[in-house]
């Protein structure tokens, strides 16, 4: 449309030699496409999640070095699969709205009563299993525990979406703008916030 293609004279050139190479290089990209686009509609139902014990909420703290093991056999593999899947992340976005996470963290995760989710501060760890743990176990000062309240799959999807709010996910996996009023910059266009190592837990009020 934009180029005004005109018939003029020309000078032929030798062909592109590196076409095959480019094709070979594009193969991994293509496989990434497969992973990004799968809709896993027939996952078996999640294993039962233990209801949160009243005795004491597991509190790994902000400096937890090792990822918290949740319930899946290999959370890293599982998390990676969720975080590379656009459909899973978009389902996470759906749960974020449905379960009223935006009630405290605001629509685009900008923070309100609860802490913002779109900045570089991660009070309880920024890695996916840590975020899952925060969701399932709850955190002091108002974050309820969702273990038993959401299925495990939903927890992973939610956590992946939460991480997309601060640009931790690939832009071709993170979501676009919402069909709603002002929800901030689309997740896929957010700059990646590098998690700050010195984040401190909030003072207990």
């Amino acid at each position: 449309m934009c180029s005004r293609c005109r018939e003029r004279c020309h000078r032929p050139r030798p062909p592109r030699p590196a076409l095959g190479l480019a094709l070979a290089l594009s193969l991994p990209l293509a496989l990434a496409g497969c992973e990004r686009e799968a809709r896993r509609l027939e996952l078996p139902p999640s294993a039962p999640l233990a209801a949160p014990s009243k005795a004491g909420v597991l509190y790994p703290g902000p400096y937890a070095s090792a990822p918290v093991r949740v319930t899946a056999a290999d959370p890293v593999v599982r998390g990676q699969r969720v975080e590379e899947n656009a459909y899973a992340v978009s389902q996470g976005k759906r749960w974020f709205r449905w379960f009223n996470c935006s009630g405290c963290h605001a629509g685009g995760g900008g923070g309100d009563m609860g802490p913002p989710l779109s900045d570089d501060r991660w009070l309880y760890g920024h890695e996916l299993p840590q975020v899952v743990a925060s969701i399932l176990q709850g955190r002091p000062n108002g974050m309820p525990a969702f273990a038993g309240r959401v299925s495990e799959e939903q927890a992973w999807q939610l956590a992946a979406y939460v991480r997309s709010l601060s640009g931790q996910l690939r832009s071709d996996v993170a979501g676009g703008r919402s069909d709603a009023m002002g929800s901030g910059e689309p997740e896929q266009r957010r700059e990646r916030e590098v998690p700050r190592p010195d984040a401190a837990p909030p003072t207990v009020r």
Partner: protein
């Protein structure tokens, strides 16, 4: 207008005299090897592009008013675009019609010297215009991702800028060719059609200017 038509007819008559029917064959060997205006293929190609792009502009303007008809206030949020740079640019564009017209006529007279001067002037005005365009984008008072009004305004201005950029590039390539050669008669046809396209870019800007800058000020 009628003068131009007579001119065209006269040229056509001349062409007819150059064709000889000789028994079974029609000898066209004496015909010219290029022609200006609607005689040339390039004129039709350019006209086709103008039709396409004119339709795109018209539909974009339709979308703008369609969206506007669905909201109670317009702009949805914030102030209308700043008038200064857009109006200045309109003046520059209108002024550019002069060197453009001059160049077109020079090309049709195969006057290389004037074509060179004219095309350089056109190019200079294009760059000036593009420079001011950057300021226009900065004073729109909205962003493409702010709301539907912002999206529509950016779309209008973006589409027009795209045409400006391509035509500026086109003019630049032609200008280099006119200065360095190799030259043949058809190059003058190219210059003439390039000028025709610039007419379109300028004339299509006037409604776009009215929509972008004045529609939000219209109650």
């Amino acid at each position: 207008m009628s003068l131009r038509n007579e001119e065209a007819l006269r040229r056509l008559d001349e062409a007819q005299r150059l064709v000889r029917a000789d028994g079974a064959v029609l000898d066209v060997g004496a015909l010219p090897s290029f022609g200006f205006g609607h005689r040339s293929l390039m004129w039709w190609g350019t006209l086709g592009l103008i039709a396409v792009e004119g339709t795109v502009f018209a539909l974009t303007v339709f979308s703008y008013f369609y969206l506007r008809s669905h909201s109670s206030q317009w702009p949805l949020d914030g102030a209308p675009p700043v008038l200064l740079w857009g109006s200045l640019n309109t003046a520059i564009l209108l002024a550019s019609l002069l060197p453009n017209h001059w160049t077109k006529q020079a090309a049709e007279r195969l006057d290389l010297r004037r074509v060179r001067i004219g095309i350089a002037a056109c190019l200079a005005m294009s760059f000036l215009f593009l420079g001011v365009r950057v300021l226009e984008f900065q004073t729109l008072n909205t962003r493409w991702d702010a709301d539907a009004y912002g999206s529509a305004v950016w779309m209008l201005l973006g589409l027009h800028t795209l045409h400006l950029v391509t035509d500026t590039f086109d003019t630049a390539v032609l200008a280099v060719l006119m200065f360095t050669g190799p030259l043949e008669g058809r190059r003058y046809v190219d210059v003439s059609e390039n000028a025709l396209y610039w007419y379109f870019v300028v004339i299509s800007w006037l409604p776009l200017y009215a929509v972008i800058y004045w529609a939000p000020r219209w109650p």
